[in-house]
Symmetry: C2
Subunit: 210 residues, 2 copies
Amino acid sequence: MAAWGARLAGVRGVLLDISGVLYDSGEGGGKPIAGSVDAVARLKRSGLKVRFCTNESQKSRSRLVGELRSLGFNIHEGEVTAPPPAACQLLKERGLRPHLLVHDEVRSEFDQVDTSDPNCVVIADAGEGFSYQNMNKAFQVLMGLDTPVLISLGQGRYYKVTSGLMLDVGGYMKALEYACGVEAEVVGKPSPEFFKSALQEMGVEACQAQ
Amino acid sequence: MAAWGARLAGVRGVLLDISGVLYDSGEGGGKPIAGSVDAVARLKRSGLKVRFCTNESQKSRSRLVGELRSLGFNIHEGEVTAPPPAACQLLKERGLRPHLLVHDEVRSEFDQVDTSDPNCVVIADAGEGFSYQNMNKAFQVLMGLDTPVLISLGQGRYYKVTSGLMLDVGGYMKALEYACGVEAEVVGKPSPEFFKSALQEMGVEACQAQ
């Protein structure tokens, strides 16, 4: 802890990535990366504020946290900054009512959001939900708006699963951008706003975070 | 015919668009634009070579021609330059074996093309065929190639049908371009190669065409 103490002088909070840092996702819930369960426990014991920051948008936070807890991590849902809650905050601040093109798993994250008479479109990695019909509906909603607003939860090109590479949300974001002549606002890493919202939730300034 | 004669001095062939020029497409086969049936007949009687040039890629040429003939047009399948046959010629010239992501209606246009062990991807307006699964398969084929080649039949943003606006192939082309880091080759208008192939089929130089 002495070495940590020196490195963390002036630091009040720590942001941690999840996938590829705490654990590798995969079939059966994935597996922890060596030493990470203990590292999280030690950070928390040290009195530092800890927040987990992920671009995961195919799983709800509760499912993700459930999987991590079953792997031994000391983690709670309220400690996770993920694109859906950050998007909800942005929607609320700007009075936006989204048409949602998201995975069924994360739809519940938007339960508190008014989705009547949409004045924007939110897309996330919808997987099989990226049907022509669903894409066309999102396109039609955008084309029907005087000022089309497209919010994308991440802009990944693809990701890897055990069976191979999978198209991520980024391509579908580009498709709607091109068809509608708009530029998407990206919520999630590497957007500075995303990190700022994580810091805000932690109650720590950027200069006090690691 | 005198006025035409003056305007067409030195001209040996005429390229005609189809949709929006000869007829308006729509439910029940569409309807001819006033005067167009007679205009085509007169052009043909004049001894000029006539060729029809369309970006239609949801219907086979035989179906399109059948619809036009039933509207009274003097038109034959061999007189139509459409993206699928132009793509077939390009594939043949370059020894490309496509993975096809196209509408079922136009699949027959590729009957003579070797699609085994694909070394490129051809996409066209596949409509409902643009499922996540089909897009992901096209993506995986491209990512598996040392030199990914993506050929897109048109690059339209959207088109209009009686029920509203519909996403065209262009957005899906952009999605694959972004995900794979490639630039698509577009077959169809406004590509110069497309017009050149129409002229070649008509046996007329560009300076002799109208």
